[in-house]
């Protein structure tokens, strides 16, 4: 039982670390603010949640005490990180940060030009 638990915990924490690394590489490699934000908010959120889940399972399966604060942290990160990404992205769009020059679709631009012409 302990050996299987250690395997699962190790897998979850490794998965979280690798996802965070992928998020960091995405932030460096991707071309504009919006794609970078996409990489950072999604991948890093899942990475942190994986690490926290591994920690929770380590506590409950190996050390035999349930730590509800870690569960609360998972819920908190799961709710707040996408909202933070949305707010940063919207602030970037509203202050006029340009899209990548190969972007093909910008639905907000029509609405914005309508609001300005009023």
């Amino acid at each position: 039982m302990i050996e299987i638990s250690k395997f699962i915990v190790g897998y979850l924490i490794l998965q979280g670390a690798i996802l965070s690394l992928i998020a960091a590489i995405g932030v460096i490699r991707l071309p504009d603010v919006y794609t970078r934000n996409h990489a950072a908010s999604k991948s890093a959120t899942l990475g942190v949640i994986s690490i926290l889940l591994g920690l929770f399972l380590q506590y409950i399966l190996i050390d035999h005490h349930a730590n509800s604060r870690v569960l609360l942290g998972i819920i908190f990160v799961f709710v707040t990180a996408p909202v933070a990404g949305h707010l940063i992205s919207r602030a970037a769009y509203n202050t006029g940060v340009p899209l990548w020059n190969k972007s093909v679709q910008d639905d907000l631009a029509k609405v914005r030009s309508k609001q300005k012409s009023r």
């Binding site: 604060r69 609360l72 819920i75 908190f76 709710v79 707010l87 509203n94 609001q115």
Partner: protein, 140 residues
């Protein structure tokens, strides 16, 4: 340009309760585990600041009509009164004690008078932080 804050405000409505609950947990767990009045107060102030960010100052003052300067004064008064209370038992100033009490739902619980001093610290920290932030936010 009028902005649409529905996502931010809805997330805030859910998150504020989690933050306040966790700050109360930190406040009450300060005797045996990391936590206490200072960090609990800072975290409650953080929840109130999140409310101020998501909604405007008028809405927050209407929902939570607290005078933070009076809150600071109340906290200081509580802290001093726990010190003066020790005079009634012929012991030096600020001597704290604790005892085990049978509570209806919680069973045997250790109740310490240091919690009352911590309550004073908690109120002072909330009051000072919110006074600073509201004064900075209101001046143009």
């Amino acid at each position: 340009m009028k902005t649409n804050d529905v996502i931010f405000q809805t997330a805030t409505k859910v998150i504020v309760f989690i933050i306040i609950l966790y700050s109360l947990h930190l406040f009450f767990s300060g005797h045996y585990t990391p936590g206490g009045g200072f960090i609990g107060g800072l975290m409650t102030a953080g929840a109130l600041v999140l409310l101020l960010l998501a909604f405007d100052i008028k809405t927050v003052v209407n929902t939570l009509p607290l005078d933070y300067i009076k809150l600071t004064a109340t906290g200081l008064l509580i802290a001093v009164l726990t010190g003066i209370g020790s005079f009634f038992f012929k012991v030096p100033f600020l001597t704290h004690t604790f005892s085990y009490v049978e509570l209806p739902f919680l069973g045997e619980t250790a109740l310490a008078t240091a919690v009352l001093f911590d309550l004073g610290v908690y109120l002072v920290v909330i009051g000072v932080t919110m006074t600073i932030i509201q004064t900075i936010g209101e001046t143009e």
